[in-house]
């Protein structure tokens, strides 16, 4: 090392300083130097217009941000069909607004006359030849489901219990029965859905991917299939680390134009299903688009504020079931949704939002008419940081697009010129 000799002393001092400061940072949790990144929610004046989401004047100052989505299931033809979501965020002191839009050429605007949607019919196939009938029979008989052969390579299973999803997804391909997606036709299809996950745990940047699994942790698969599969470690829909609050909008179900929306405007039905009766009668008298609150943690996926309409209930009847608002419209090939909620947590197990904080959020989207439902969807592969800044959006509207374009081209030309200059100077030096 050429450092040895007269310059050894400064090097030793610098390296000791590095070690000392490093240790100090470890012992006293020094804040590391940060750079801004992710989505920003700006402070705005105004309130939401649920009848026409995105039309509020404050949105015009905030541009769309593109978030890339990826499939939840690898190698499954129907998974990950939604390529991206565009998003913006704002808050007005009491409420947060999250506006999203995504392309959908074949929207599922109304549900299928049942809150839980139509039966989840699994489509299986073998891309490499004929279906392995022995395995298909073993699989369906273990979980007591009927199936129908379409042709030698395709079949439908009538029903989709969680442990079967697990076995099919992880053990099917090795046994000649692949998961294709959920069966759809002109009348049997699933509602379009959109979900925002708010991470509430303490880990930094954990996995936002929910586990594929059984009805509870450590579920044992019975019979001959059980000898191969054994115990399923996780609950389906559970999170690997920490807990998260999910805001879920379901076309038809939580959307005033859907046929299933009427379930919720019936106060008696609500009370029977474990929703707070006062909330139910208030909602019945003045219904609005809303979103469901779900809780996911290491032990499973739960409904918040009802008796367990979709998943087991986390809380039972608590006030605030209809406290989340969602406006929706389908326009020019895009769904546009606006999620509105008070900043303060309205129910137990829901996220409490404060100004100046950064939240890890994730999006999940389902194309119901293309066979995406349940665990088959498109998600953001990583959490996106969302920060609420105590600032109003002041766009540099003074800069016209043409000036901006010229400036960008100018910078590129300048960089190329610098590069050429470097290169020629280099050559001359040689």
């Amino acid at each position: 090392m050429h450092m040895v000799g007269k310059s050894i002393r400064p090097a030793l001092i610098i390296l000791s300083a590095a070690v000392l400061l490093g240790l100090l940072a470890v012992l006293h949790s020094v804040p590391l130097a940060q750079t801004p990144s992710g989505l920003v929610a700006y402070k705005v004046i105004g309130s939401a217009n649920l009848a026409n989401p995105g039309s509020e004047s404050f949105w015009s100052n905030i541009p769309w941000f593109n978030v890339t989505l990826s499939p939840t299931l690898s190698g499954v033809p129907t998974s990950g069909l939604v390529p991206y979501v565009e998003a913006k965020a704002a808050y007005n002191g009491d409420y947060i607004f999250i506006l999203v839009k995504w392309p959908d050429n074949n929207p599922s605007t109304i549900g299928a006359n049942a809150v839980a949607g139509p039966g989840h019919w699994v489509m299986v196939y073998n891309p490499k030849g004929s279906l392995n009938m022995t395995f298909l029979k073993l699989l369906t008989s273990t979980f007591h489901k009927h199936y129908k052969i379409i042709n030698s390579s395709y079949a439908i299973i009538f029903g989709s219990p969680r442990p079967m999803e697990y076995v099919l997804y992880y053990y099917g391909p090795a046994n000649g029965v692949y998961f294709y997606g959920y069966y759809t036709n002109a009348t049997h299809y699933y509602p379009d859905r959109f979900a925002i996950m708010w991470y509430m745990g303490t880990q930094q940047n954990p996995s936002d991917c929910m586990n594929i699994g059984g009805p509870h942790p450590g579920y044992k698969v019975s019979g001959q299939l059980g000898q191969v599969v054994g115990t399923i470690p996780n609950t389906g829909g559970s999170l690997s680390s920490g807990a998260a609050n999910i805001w879920e909008w379901i076309a038809g179900v939580t959307y005033p134009q859907g046929s299933d929306f009427s379930y919720f405007t019936n106060a008696t039905w609500d009370a029977d299903n474990g929703i707070n009766p006062t909330d139910a009668s208030q909602f019945a008298s003045a219904p609005h688009g809303f979103f469901l609150n779900l809780l996911t943690n290491q032990s499973g996926l739960f409904d918040i504020g009802d008796g367990g309409i979709w998943y087991p209930n986390a809380t039972g009847p608590v006030p605030g079931y209809f406290s989340g608002y969602t406006g929706a419209k389908y326009e020019n090939g895009y769904w546009v949704l606006e999620f509105v909620r008070q900043l303060k947590s309205p129910m137990p197990d829901t996220v409490n939002i404060t100004v100046g904080s950064t939240y890890d959020i994730a999006f999940g989207v389902w194309y119901g008419k293309s066979g995406e439902t349940s665990f088959d969807k498109s998600i953001t592969a990583n959490f996106v940081p969302l920060t609420l800044v105590p600032k109003q959006p002041t766009p540099p509207s003074a800069i016209p697009t043409i000036v901006l374009t010229v400036a960008v081209i100018g910078i590129i030309i300048a960089l190329v010129a610098i590069g050429i200059a470097f290169f020629s100077i280099n050559k001359r030096r040689k």
Binding site: M3, G22, V30, P36, S37, S241, P395, F423
Partner: protein, 317 residues
């Protein structure tokens, strides 16, 4: 030009810097997001995460020194000042005004740091014909910096911009794969000597021991592909269909072999190759990360500057 063994040496700062980056990469960047997948309890892993924090702070000391001693590089003082201001300035402001990173001056400074990083990458590209061996990785870095700039322009400067991120997922993977091939070519394009062959052997053994079992585990097992696909997305930031995972494991093996081969060439009297290894390691390690810390820009500048300095030293001998 390369007839004599050049006199420039792999400096003690660069060596320390490389080791610290590796520690940071393993114990912070990779480990923290994959906590949930680990069999060990959170408490043990949190302790390991502290090694990453230590490395980041120690790098904030060492990186400016690497830039300082790279005397042949244009804009050296600009890079040096940027590394000090954005590194130590950020830490100091963290105590005084925790919201500093959302303030307009800091946003502009972050944007400037990002552009400076891009300039340092372009400087590498034009400094020598040999540095074209890193071209795929340089493009990968530019893609990553482009995405950061778009993020800041839309969200913080409120300028609507065309965001191509959805279309850049596959180009990024292909640049990563192409980078492994060109780095491999660079690492073995030399007249073989006995000492080098030992280095190659060590590299081959380590890379095969790491990637071959992983490849066997993944090639016919979709369950493991899915799990490792998540690990790649969370831990490394690489978005890839799980069916790509066996191929990516081979790419990882090629990188490990090439880096060890380059390091052994550095030990055998070609320090320039050590700087190539350092730059390649840091480009792969920062291109896929969310640039939420200033250090990710600073280390990229540092690696570029050290490589340019070494290239100029060699060509001037």
């Amino acid at each position: 030009m390369m007839s004599k063994i050049p006199k420039n040496d792999f400096s003690i700062y660069s060596l320390t810097f490389g080791i610290l980056f590796l520690l940071q990469y393993i114990f912070r960047e990779f480990l923290l997001p994959v906590f949930p997948f680990m069999p060990s309890s959170g408490a043990n892993l949190a302790a390991l995460g502290l090694i990453g924090t230590f490395s980041v702070v120690a790098m904030t000391v060492v990186a400016p020194m690497v830039i300082w001693e790279s005397r042949r590089v244009m804009l050296r003082l600009t890079y040096f000042a940027a590394s000090l201001i954005m590194g130590w300035g950020g830490i100091a402001l963290g105590f005084l005004y925790p919201q500093y990173y959302l303030s307009t001056p800091w946003i502009i400074a972050s944007l400037a740091l990002c552009i400076l990083t891009a300039v340092s990458i372009l400087q590498v590209a034009v400094s020598s014909i040999k540095s074209l061996a890193l071209l795929p990785l340089l493009i990968l870095e530019l893609i990553s910096l482009y995405q950061y700039i778009i993020n800041i322009l839309t969200e913080y400067a409120l300028i609507p911009s065309i965001n191509l991120s959805t279309y850049l997922v596959y180009p990024s993977i292909y640049m990563l794969i192409a980078g492994s091939v060109s780095l491999l070519a660079l690492s073995i394009y030399v007249r073989p000597r006995r000492g080098l062959l030992i280095g190659y052997l060590v590299g081959a053994v380590i890379s095969i021991l790491l990637s071959e079992p992983m490849y066997q585990l993944l090639i016919y097992n979709r369950f493991m592909q899915s799990i490792m696909g998540e690990v790649a997305a969370m831990g490394l930031g690489i978005l890839a269909p799980p069916s790509y995972l066996p191929a990516l494991v081979i790419v990882m093996g090629i990188y490990i072999f090439s880096l060890i081969a380059l390091v052994s060439r550095a030990i055998m009297g070609e320090p320039l190759m050590g700087y190539y290894a350092l730059a390649a390691l840091i480009y792969i390690g920062t291109a896929f990360v969310v640039h939420a810390l200033s250090i990710y820009f600073v280390v990229t500048i540092t690696a570029s500057v050290a490589l340019i300095n070494s290239l100029k030293t060699v060509s001037n001998k």
